[in-house]
Symmetry: C2
Subunit: 486 residues, 2 copies
């Protein structure tokens, strides 16, 4: 695949993942597969800018809620990573180990961080002494490493996760951890809403929680092939790590206790979701808020009107830029206008302005919307106003469109057969009545041939009042969500 | 050391490095030494913000000169890193190797990047085909790893360099590489000027150039103890890497040739220099442009005027913030004003505004400058204007002060004895006439008991017309700079 060739598999009902791989490369977002180590990709300049714009939003959301950004070392000494036994059991198979420095073997093996609960809690044992310092909310945006043995996939299943935002908080008691979990859920909801990514929030089942957590809450979205993609997790860690690393604090009542913690993380899967969910047969469709270029101007030259068209185009460029828009003027001679349209549609630029001699003479522009393919005439005097209006509508439209597709793919059933058939036809997520017992959950997953995502938060008892567990037939007290995972 | 205890060693003529270590910790910039792996430190929230502000300037300088930010994987397969033999010889002793994934040994060992010439050039062999794409300027801001066996030091000699900005460019011919080297020198000069870091620019001697380069140009500054610190390097790489990785391009004349490259890098030593050079016995002195807090307001409460003082303070806060300043209001009850002064001076906040009942009644503020310790009265009406004026003067003052101290520490001698004595008294850099021969350069270093920094760029021949090489006595054709390196 080279630039400019996006296959329209999504329309032809062919492989979504082939479309995804192609669009990442053709739109010059992310080079995957050329790098000579499995599961590692390269952020290209255009993709880097998308990533930067997403990170900017994440930082704003976290900074405005009292989170402080820090940066910890990548390498974690073996003794620190192994200190909490449940945690290392969960990660043992996935950790990369540095064993040599230069030509010498190291005295102590060093792990590439798979996540930073252990090293940070070790440091917190020096830093945090009193309830007066709490709650304390740290975060960092770093690479994490997981030796993924399954088939790797660009951005969504990689061995180096290059955009891991991990937050780690410390609290005086369990109740404040609960409050923090809700705050984290709210922050992530805002982020996904901002980017127009639809999601369901589930409490992961016991057998699928984070290694060391009391419980894990997860956000899942759906890819166009009906597979669920986990895009965020929030963990109530209790005192698991503070006990082993001895983070003791003086409490308000002057007693000494171990501190309490939560942690929560998101990765470049957020960016992958934006691309996968909003994209179409022509390529990327980027939200206005994160598009590196929000408006592209294409001058349509004719031999006799070259100067008029180009000065009109420059004037539009200046006007839009001065109004705070990220605008680009495509002046390349070697491409015809149609090729330029194709190029910028592939790159997901939300608005295109076409200007030829008719536009110049009549003082208007022809405005094309990437999301709806609508072409309208806009008078020069009202251009800024119209663009401002569209900039808001645009992201709303993407969000509404994505949510309505998403909702149509979530179904409740009262029996295993219908659920199994639904999932086998790639429809999305099923919700089935469940008694809550571990063995029924595991069995449900086997019988439906799908993964358990967990139970809805705040489910009203009315919703399952007459339902029976689809596995054992006893009274259900919740719903289990299942899907085929990406 | 805990927060609030900075020892005034710098005034007592005692160890600069002890002062430096203490100030990093006391001002909560960087936690070094607690992390349980040698040569690795933690950026604390306050330090992270300083780092972020410096990175923002670097990005602006690079983006505005056509550099594009990318992100490459951290891990480099052994075969790629070893492909260019001179390069791997230079780095072999310093590379960390990942040998295991989970419990399994890896088929191919993976290096933690010591620098990215090899992996990027490998990718460029796919990406770059024609002169039409050139010059191409990439950069990334990442961690690099060097298994440093000498004594490690916080920020200045670490095993994980967490703020490595590496730029890599591709060109059609050698001449364009030469132009790029000058551009890079100009960019780094602007950065250091902006931050008030004085420097000399030297062409490193053959025996100290980057492994794989035709030549290396380096920026050195001086620390308060008279030791030289390398703060930036620029390499003309010629075709060293493009030949082994076969980056072939079609040239303007339609012939096919290997492309040409440069690379250049700076690290968190830039931040270390800002701290080391501008700091004083009270702690940090941060340039206005990168201070996380530029102005701190300290309300001086008295029992009967609490409300008046606090509302005046709030008003000042809003006014300064609305004018674009990074301002903080210190409302803590548990500290006395003097303790607050001490705290924010330690943190290097450029301006302090003190407001008590007298200030409120007479509509002025008391303004304290961290760099000069001057306290002045400023009328409320002229406050914004005065602060704007000082914000420019402040950084100029730091820069001028630093440059004049720096210049006074560079001396030319015509004999080895004076040079040796000068350096043994911690005075800085010496420049000695040199014939240019390798063996004389090496011998000079031994006889003076110092490191060779290299030769000045653009030295006029007049300056050495009658001089004799201090080692062999033959005619000198340049000057060799020597210093004790940090």
């Amino acid at each position: 695949m080279t630039m400019g060739e996006v296959h329209v598999y999504r329309d032809l009902g062919r492989s979504f993942s082939e479309w995804f791989d192609n669009v990442l490369e053709a739109a010059e977002v992310y080079d995957y597969g050329r790098y000579p180590a499995k599961g590692m990709g390269v952020w290209l300049p255009y993709g880097f800018k998308i990533r930067e714009n997403v990170i900017r939003i994440i930082r704003e959301l976290l900074n405005s809620t009292g989170h402080e950004e820090i940066l910890l070392p990548l390498l974690i000494p073996e003794g620190i990573l192994r200190k909490e036994s449940e945690h290392i059991r969960g990660f043992e198979d996935q950790v990369y180990w540095v064993t040599h420095g230069g030509l010498e073997p190291l005295d102590v093996k060093l792990a590439l961080r798979p996540t930073s609960e252990t090293s940070l809690t070790y440091l917190e044992s020096f830093w945090i002494k009193s309830y007066k310092q709490l709650p304390k909310k740290y975060y960092q945006i770093v690479s994490i490493f997981r030796y993924e043995t399954k088939a790797t996939r660009p951005m969504t299943r990689v061995r180096e996760v290059t955009t891991f935002k991990e937050a780690h908080t410390v609290h005086e008691d369990f109740i404040d951890c609960e409050r923090q979990v809700l705050e984290a859920v709210e922050i992530y909801s805002k982020l996904f809403d901002y980017l127009g990514i639809p999601y369901i929030i589930s409490k992961r089942p016991e057998w699928d929680k984070f290694a060391g957590a009391i419980y894990t809450i997860a956000f899942d979205t759906l890819l166009p092939d009906g597979r669920a993609l986990q895009i965020g997790t929030v963990h109530n860690l209790g005192q698991t790590f503070t006990k082993v690393f001895e983070v003791r604090i003086q409490k308000r009542d002057e007693s000494i206790d171990y501190a309490w913690q939560t942690s929560y993380g998101i990765s470049e899967r957020v960016i992958a979701s934006v691309i996968a969910i909003h994209g179409d047969r022509r390529g990327l469709v980027l939200p206005f808020s994160i598009a590196p270029i929000q408006i592209v101007i294409i001058p349509l030259f004719t031999a006799d009107a070259y100067n008029d068209v180009i000065s009109y185009s420059h004037m539009l460029y200046e006007m839009l830029r001065n109004n705070g828009f990220r605008v680009h003027e495509d002046l390349r001679n070697e491409l015809r206008p149609g090729e330029k349209y194709y190029y910028w549609e592939l790159k997901g630029v939300p608005l295109r302005i076409e200007v030829g001699i008719r536009e110049v003479s009549n003082k208007y522009v022809t405005l094309f919307r990437r999301d709806t393919y609508e072409r309208t005439r806009v008078g020069l005097n009202e251009l800024i106003e119209v663009v401002k209006k569209i900039s808001v509508e645009y992201d709303e439209n993407l969000r509404n469109r994505a949510w309505s597709a998403f909702k149509s793919r979530i179904a409740r059933f009262n029996n295993l057969e219908d659920a199994r058939e639904y999932l086998n036809s790639s429809r999305g997520v099923v919700e089935l009545p469940w008694c809550g017992r571990h063995e029924c959950g595991i069995k449900m997953s086997e019988l439906v041939d799908a993964d358990t995502l967990g139970t809805p938060l705040n489910l009203s008892m009315d919703e399952v009042s007459n339902a029976k567990c689809v596995v054992c037939g006893s009274n259900a007290n919740t719903l289990m969500r299942l899907a085929k995972k990406h």
